[in-house]
Symmetry: C2
Subunit: 122 residues, 2 copies
DNA sequence: CACATACGACTACAATCGTAAACGAAACGG
DNA sequence: CCGTTTCGTTTACGATTGTAGTCGTATGTG
């Protein structure tokens, strides 16, 4: 469960977080076509994710139905946490400041942020 | 310049972003002791960073003085950008919301954020 | 029932990464 | 001047990652 999920593996997880359980063929059909993956590649990734404990499978006749074991939010938290530790000394505020500087915040985002801050202050 | 910098390599970059130029020995002496790296490991990493174009070196007698070619802010922007794309659909606001939910924002952070929002709104 | 097919398991293989050791040349110390 | 230390360069080697291919078997099809 503490195993890291690679970039390519994440693509597979995203599919299963969106909808599960699915067969390998289903997953292959649903991954971003831009990846250009064949069925074999998806099968490899499913196998690795099983080994990592990120997925579980239940038998359905002669094939498997895959479902996520870890929640997306948990994965995201781990990834974000590592980034914050690595680049921002473990503090979140500097990350927000960075986002602001990079103009990655639209007017809507800022409005949203404002509401968020109001909420947090309570 | 567009080459990715790995986790271990980043440790070396951090030293040189803090102070440069430095010799390989200096860098080895300044990396986080928790890494437990020998001089050889640091030399490998410096070599790889040179190959990636993240560092440059100038001769100083028979050894080199290393200095960053890419700015820390640029690296951070790239890393954060990739994370935002990968996990938050390219939008920064959901990341901030995530940080809030994870209680990764202290009271001070929130105050800082508030000031930031006020600034952004102008 | 024979054969094509669909599946999962196993194998492959180059690139990157983490972590060094080996080697060769230059320089310093005595 | 000769051995020792110091550098940078080259080589090493297992783990992970990206991207499949192969193989054996269960299955559906005619």
């Amino acid at each position: 469960m503490t195993e890291r999920i690679s970039e390519a593996e994440l693509e597979v997880m995203e599919v299963l977080w969106r909808e599960a359980p699915l067969t390998a063929a289903d997953v292959a059909a649903l991954v971003d076509p831009a990846r250009g993956w064949g069925a074999a590649t998806v099968k490899t990734l499913l196998g690795r994710l099983l080994a990592k404990g990120a997925l579980a499978h239940e038998e359905d006749g002669r094939r498997y139905l895959y479902r996520p074991v870890i929640a997306r939010a948990d994965h995201v938290a781990g990834d974000v946490g590592r980034l914050v530790d690595r680049l921002f000394g473990g503090r979140a505020a500097p990350l927000v400041a960075h986002l602001a500087e990079q103009q990655r915040l639209s007017a809507d985002d800022i409005a949203e942020l404002e509401a968020l801050v109001r909420e947090l202050k309570k």
